[in-house]
Structure formats: structure tokens, C-alpha cells
Symmetry: C2
Subunit: 247 residues, 2 copies
Amino acid sequence: MSTEDHTEDNGVPAGVTELPAAHGQSLDQASAQPVTASLTRILPEATLARLTQYLRALIKLKASGELRTSSGVLATAAGVNPAILRKDLSLLGSYGTRGVGYVVVELTEHISKALGLLQQWRVAIIGAGNLGRALSGYGGFRSRGFEIAALLDAAPEVIGTTVGDMEVQDIADLESIVQRSKANMAVLSVPGISAQDLCDKLVDCGVRSILSFAPVVLNVPAGVNLRRVDLATELQILAYHAQNLEA
Amino acid sequence: MSTEDHTEDNGVPAGVTELPAAHGQSLDQASAQPVTASLTRILPEATLARLTQYLRALIKLKASGELRTSSGVLATAAGVNPAILRKDLSLLGSYGTRGVGYVVVELTEHISKALGLLQQWRVAIIGAGNLGRALSGYGGFRSRGFEIAALLDAAPEVIGTTVGDMEVQDIADLESIVQRSKANMAVLSVPGISAQDLCDKLVDCGVRSILSFAPVVLNVPAGVNLRRVDLATELQILAYHAQNLEA
DNA sequence: CACTGTGAAGCCATTCACAGCT
DNA sequence: AGCTGTGAATGGCTTCACAGTG
């Protein structure tokens, strides 16, 4: 219905974390890594953001028929420098061949596995305003293992309408809907004023990973992953740089 | 028309930068800062993100009638620790009073000034899909010095319709519209496939600050500010942490 | 010979702890 | 007495440069 909703592939970085996280393990860097070792240990946040970019770049390369690639090519495609790409990948294990490079499909799989994209994630979208609708129609999710499990809103005139192929359900039934739909992630695209309350409810019914677009500081118990994207913040940071560019 | 579009105040951090920027000045930390010194010198990206949070917290405090505050209170409201808040503020100058704290309105102004929010920014939104519409209706922008200057799209059935109080204009006329509307910032909420082309056009007609939601790596000449927010990346990072939380 | 994998160096950001004011 | 402002210490991430290897 319009130009947008960048349904395609490739893209880019983002947020500051927010994970009060108390990851169980304290040791990483175990001595032996017998290759293809399943558990990847803790990856730095910055590395994670870049891995998603490599993944996009790889998918593009595969689509254009490339079988192999190198840190130089991949780095350019992902907009980073080759050294850090190699360092990032080395944190996952040694999946390249010296003097040659990386096998596209192989590397794609290793990164997907490390990121946890081999399992299907079910996302409940809380708030069916424009942002919520944009998200529920965003092709980039479905194509990467994220299934929209439910779409909720509080406004009577919105509840019961359909967005894409999803019916908007009543936010009042959040707990039962989340349980029934087996959602294990949630996106909060609601006004700041209701965000904390809904966040608490999500946590109560077992959701441990939440992406919030609400412009408020949210408190979550340890063990819950919270990421926030703040649109006004983005523009403000841009304004700062714009101001400083002016002669 | 629904629950979302968090029109209110407070909110949170976000993105990884992307500024190939070749900021003129190399010196900062000049010796004397005669207070209220106009030019703030380069602020670290991480500090910028937090400053926007402090600003939100301050606006809330003001709204609830507080005249003064302290690093402890503000830090809690912004979700950071007091030490880094003080360090951040000290980069702007010494606007607090030892033993007392900060005057809310005064600090608000200093931060606004540092961020470049005292001038009016005019934002062209490129792409009037759900995301573009969500952004153009986002109250948090207008209330912070960001005026929506224009809303463009390519789809014939969308051009000419109104969104809020804005008429959607034809993206084919981008150059003239940007010039006439005096837009000095742009938001790209278009499909990845058209993003680079539109980005180039924006740069051509003088826009030097761009916030992109398109899931592609964009190339811009030095001197242009580009920030990117990638929704799929956010979920993927969350997936990683979710996977690692699972016992 | 080309390209990966990685120790070491360098840089940036956060935290600590306390001196300096009011 | 209390809270700011900041040097010093710490920790994490990035870049460098090269040894290792097919």
C-alpha cells in the first residue's frame, strides 16, 4: 500500500543494551574448542550487532550466486573493516580457510546458530497503532525466524479488525493470549504511560525478551532481556551532529 | 486511533553510529571554560544517547513541579548510575552546585542547547507506509523541536492522501519539495531497494542528516550524518540473549 | 601467495573514590 | 554535611600487524 516497509534483506546496527542480565556462566574462553562446538559463550554486544549485518550480507551474496567470500568482501558489504569482521567470526570458531576465505552457506549457518535464529521465535506485538502495524507487516521478521504470534491493542475500535492476516485482540486478555499463542518475545509499541504496566504483565506470563519502542525507562527483573529503541533520541543525536556540522 | 504512538515524554537509548564524519576540530578539552561557553566541543556518542534521557527525565521532573534535583535522583529517573551522569554533565560545563544539586530548568536548557534542540529542525519523511505514518504522527518529535516538513511516497494511491495534517507528496518531486519545505533532516522509511537512491537524492539537495530505517548499508559522502535503526537486528539480538537465557 | 586467526597495542567508556565547594 | 566535579583505575572494544596455513 505504499513505498515503505522495507520488506527486503540487508540493514544495520542499532541499540544500546539494557540487559541487567545475570548470565549464569562466568567462565568463557574455555580452553578447547573442538570446532562446531555448540555453545558459543558470551558474545560482546557490539559483535552481535555486526553479526546480524554479516548475516544480511551473506544472504545477499548467496542470492547473487556466490559460493565463497572473504573478510574483505563481506566487510565491505556489511560496512565494517575486515579486521573486526575476522575477530568477530573468530569468536564463533574457525570457519574460514586461510588463503581462501569463507564458504557462504556454511558461515551463514554458523552465524544463524550463534544468534539463535535456527529456532522459531514467536513475537507478540503489543499496540496496533501505526508502529505496531508497521512491525507486524515487516517482512524482514518472518523471513528470519520471527513469527508474529499475536497483535494486541486497547482501543475498542481497533480490536477485532484485521491487519494483514492477523486479527487485533484485546490487550485486556494479554495473559491468556500470550499463553495460548505461545509467544516467547514481545514488542511494546504502546504509549509511554502504559508501557511499564504492560511490561510487567508480559514478564508475569513468562515473556523474557522484550523490545520496547516506548519512550520511557522500563524496569524489569534480572533474567529478562529488554532492548529499547527510541525514535526521538535518534533524531536528537542527529540534531547534535547536524548542529556541529554547521560552519 | 489506537493504543500506540507513545506521544508522551520519556524514553531511551539506541543506535550505533555511522558517521564517517570528519569533524573539523581535533582539539577539545580546551583549558578554560568560562561557564555558559557556547560551543560544547565533541561529545562521545554514548554521552549523547544518555543526554537525551536526562532531558526526558528533567522534563518529567519539571512537569511534576520539582525545581531542583541531584545526580542521584536524575540518574535513577534516566536509568543510569550517578557517576556517569555527573561525568556526562561535566562535559557540558559545571552547571551544578556542590552540596546542593542542579536547577531543573537551567540544566534542561544547557542540555537542549548542547544537543542543538534550541533551533527548529525540519524533517522530511520519505516513505508514507505504516512506519512513515507512525513517525509523522509521533508527538515526541514536534514537542522537541522537530517539525515534519514534508511526507513523501511513491505509490500513486497514497500520493495526495492526508496523514494527520500532512498531504503525502510525490517522491518524484523530492528535490523541489525538500527545497521548498526547507527540510534540513530526513527520515528514510522506504524499502531497502530504493533507499540508496533516495539517500543520494537527499544528499544532492543539501540534506546532511539522515535517519534510515531501511535494512541496507547506505553510503554517504563525508560530512553527511547517517544513523540507522534496524528493526530486524533488534529482534535478532534479543533472540541471541533469549537463547542464552534458556537453561 | 593470499587470506585467516589472533596476540599485543591503543583507544574509548565506565566506574571508583575523593578532593573541592557551598 | 552533602553533593558536585574529576583524576586515576579499570574494563571492553577496535585496530594493527603478523604468524600460521591451505
